[in-house]
């Protein structure tokens, strides 16, 4: 047997390896994103606090700027209150994103292990099984056989080929189920990693804005914080939607699990509904 089975292992193997590769990349990326988001969040809070400190200093000192800024005192007061509220709101949003990422990172290790073993098993078992059926055709000295012995032999050979083919079908079913589960999980993780990277970008842009803001420009900072909050709020909403999509896809997969369980309990593909006895029995 030198030719791959039709529609068989090579593509499935490639698909499985590609999926696992994406899963590993996403897992590593998510783990790093947790640290990056924390770091940029801390930087943003530090910059905003530095700005507020500068503002307090300028409001308290007796300067022309201080006098002019007093014209806007109530506006500044409003702005500072909004900054406190928005940072609190952003903190909740970023905490939500971090919680999602950490949960997925923590849960990904056993899931990856399951996929690695499961897909590896499916590919390793399926390939030789697919090769086995055509190799079992009776040949050689048996060609000269005649009579009941030959008929019995040929029937047993046919039974065994049918059994191998039925087994191959079941392994393929499990394989496609595993691939579906792995693909759904990987797609979710990749989406989450992409959105996590966007959170990092938004926080860094915010840090730069806060760094460059003069203390008299706190009202502008409020607008930037509002935009950042809207953006991260959207990302939170999207990640929740992806999670819901994953749950829906998993619900479909659970139906497949029932089918797989049925497949394993179903012996109708086997000759006479039973595993065949060896030819020499």
């Amino acid at each position: 047997m030198t030719q791959p089975a039709p529609g068989g292992a090579p593509d499935g193997d490639q698909f499985a390896q590609g999926t696992l590769g994406s899963f590993r990349t996403a897992k590593d990326l998510l783990a790093q994103l947790v640290d990056k988001i924390r770091k940029e969040w801390d930087a943003m809070v530090a910059r905003i606090n530095a700005l507020l400190e500068r503002l307090e200093h300028e409001l308290n000192e007796d300067s022309i700027w201080s006098t002019i800024s007093e014209w806007w005192t109530s506006k500044i007061k409003d702005a500072v209150e909004k900054i406190h509220k928005l940072v609190e709101q952003l903190g909740e949003q970023v905490s939500g994103v971090l919680a999602s990422l950490e949960k997925v990172v923590a849960g990904s290790v056993p899931v990856l292990s399951l996929f690695e073993v499961g897909l590896d098993w499916a590919v390793k078992v399926n390939t030789p099984l697919s090769d086995l059926g055509p190799d079992m055709t009776g040949s050689g000295a048996v060609d000269a056989w005649r009579g009941p012995a030959k008929e019995t032999y040929e029937k047993r050979v046919r039974d065994q080929i049918d059994a191998v083919e039925a087994t191959t079908g079941k392994v393929k079913t499990v394989s496609s189920w595993l691939a579906e589960v792995a693909a759904a999980n990987t797609a979710y993780m990749v989406s989450l990693a992409d959105r996590g990277a966007e959170v990092v970008g938004a926080l860094v842009a915010m840090v730069i804005d806060a760094t460059e803001s003069a203390s008299g420009a706190v009202t502008q900072l409020v607008i930037t914080l509002q935009h950042t909050s809207e953006l991260i709020g959207e990302i939170v909403k999207q990640t929740l939607q992806y999670l819901a999509n994953l749950a829906n896809r998993m619900a479909e997969v659970i139906k497949q699990i029932t089918t797989v369980a049925g497949e394993y309990g179903d012996h109708t593909g086997l000759p006479g509904g039973k595993w065949p006895a060896p030819v020499n029995a």
């Binding site: 940029e40 503002l55 406190h84 990092v200």
Partner: protein
């Protein structure tokens, strides 16, 4: 003029001391436990220009590869499309007009702050192993479960373009070059 200045002085004096009521204390930080290494744009070619946005709400695919895949035309903005002050998040989709069953999506983050784009890219490039030459400042291709993805940093924009076939299990490597071509087609609508 003099009376105006006097009025201003009166208002200023009336308001004097109000600064004491402003809570300029530090904002609370509900997130604790930070650490790691600083992000940097080290190793990246410098940004040579700055994109202001897209020529239309969504890019239009006009190349020959897009035509072969049945994906020509302007993209449709998805419900994840958004503008957030200095950051535009363009999220667009295309569906094959023929029976080939291809779909494509493009998500572009256009930052007015270069540092934002660099930071998103530094996060996104983690673990990428298949660099693509000739697009943007840096680009990578990666097969993902449902299609081929190309990610690229072009100036102050970060783009993620996905090309999905009807049946991903038929092999994704063959989609690498078409996905790169579609990505170039998307990027040429930046202005």
């Amino acid at each position: 003029m003099r009376s105006g200045l006097l009025a201003a002085a009166v208002v200023a004096m009336t308001l004097a001391g109000c600064g004491d009521d402003i809570d300029t204390g530090p904002v609370e930080n509900p997130i604790t436990g930070s650490a790691p290494a600083p992000a940097s744009a080290a190793g990246l070619p410098p940004a040579t220009g700055k994109w202001a946005g897209l020529t239309a709400k969504c890019p239009a695919l006009t190349g020959t590869v897009a035509a072969q895949l049945g994906l020509s035309g302007a993209g449709r903005p998805t419900d994840e499309y958004g503008e957030f002050g200095d950051i535009v998040r363009a999220d667009c989709a295309w569906r094959s007009t023929g029976e080939q069953g291809y779909t494509a999506t493009a998500r572009l983050s256009i930052y007015q702050r270069q540092e934002g784009a660099d930071a998103e890219w530094q996060a996104l490039r983690t673990g990428r192993t298949d660099p693509v030459a000739g697009i943007g400042r840096e680009a990578f291709a990666s097969p993902e479960p449902d299609g081929m993805t190309v990610r690229v940093l072009s100036g102050n924009a970060v783009a993620t373009v996905r090309l999905r076939p009807a049946d991903p299990s038929a092999g994704l490597d063959r989609l690498r070059e078409p996905a790169i071509a579609v990505t170039k087609d998307v990027l040429d609508d930046l202005r």
